[in-house]
Point group: C2
Chain length 192, copies 2
Amino acid sequence: MGRRNEILQRATEVFERKGVTQTSIEDIAQAVGIKREAIYYYFRGRHDILLEIILPSSKELLTGIEAIRDSDTPGAEKLKDAVRNHLLAYDPRYLEMSVALREDLFFSDGDGKLRELQDIWHRYGDLWAELIEDGQMTGAFRSDLDAKLVSYAILGMCNWLSRWFDPKKDLSLDEIIDTYFKLTFEGIQPRG
Amino acid sequence: MGRRNEILQRATEVFERKGVTQTSIEDIAQAVGIKREAIYYYFRGRHDILLEIILPSSKELLTGIEAIRDSDTPGAEKLKDAVRNHLLAYDPRYLEMSVALREDLFFSDGDGKLRELQDIWHRYGDLWAELIEDGQMTGAFRSDLDAKLVSYAILGMCNWLSRWFDPKKDLSLDEIIDTYFKLTFEGIQPRG
């Protein structure tokens, strides 16, 4: 493993243990066993490291929802698959980092990676709204609610896990996926 | 208005305009028209200012949900009232500050205000879970979902507004309250 990847891996561990906002470049340097300055040889700062960690799982998120859109499963299944895709690709570890990164998007974006991430998130949000709209058109979901707002609601519900979820406690991600699906599906299913 | 209150008011405006994470003590000092050092005469730092701004609306949040619990309205109404209480007491401006404050709870708590805020949030979360549980017991809500998880889901949905809501755009808080209620109520209402 090259030095660069080693930094990314140790940083992921430190972010997970201490929380993103509590982690300094110094902490990451210590975990790798190098000097603070050596980190800056590879990365412009904490945001740059976060960005590199988040980018692959963000791409997964997008590939996942595109596959769900293109599948032949009915609307309700698609919704459950999309909730699952979100909470598995962005497991709470990545979720916390992603949320922390969102806090401060004004750092310098020398090589366009931030732009790439923002484009992914934007496209991802659009695909969620489309998933709801398509379901409304096929009759799988009730159509009196604003599709975009419904998608924001579900994404918010999922993203908020970054604030409370502790894998050491009793609830499993599977239970959460199941509950979030039931809670939201019944909310957007047409009444018979 | 005393100097102290003036700082709080100007800080609220700057936080709203620039976003909390982008606001420095220097920005607040400039808005008040005093020196940076003068801010430190009244507050220990940005967190201390945030805390003072958030505390009154957090108390409102709690008083609101206590009143809803003690009311005679049926479960479904209580849920709608609780969503409304949350999104009105913590309007998106305060929500952003509250979320930003949550990011970093490890600053010094000289006078116990942080402790007070944490106790309020804790109690508030408990009352939400109770509201769902009570509804499950009276048959207003389906009882196969975990009450605590359902309350986390709804609170997450609401709190996520801090990330996307823009009062200058077309959606009103009333529409959001209505949609979030419909989405979640149908999810927890027993099927007939």
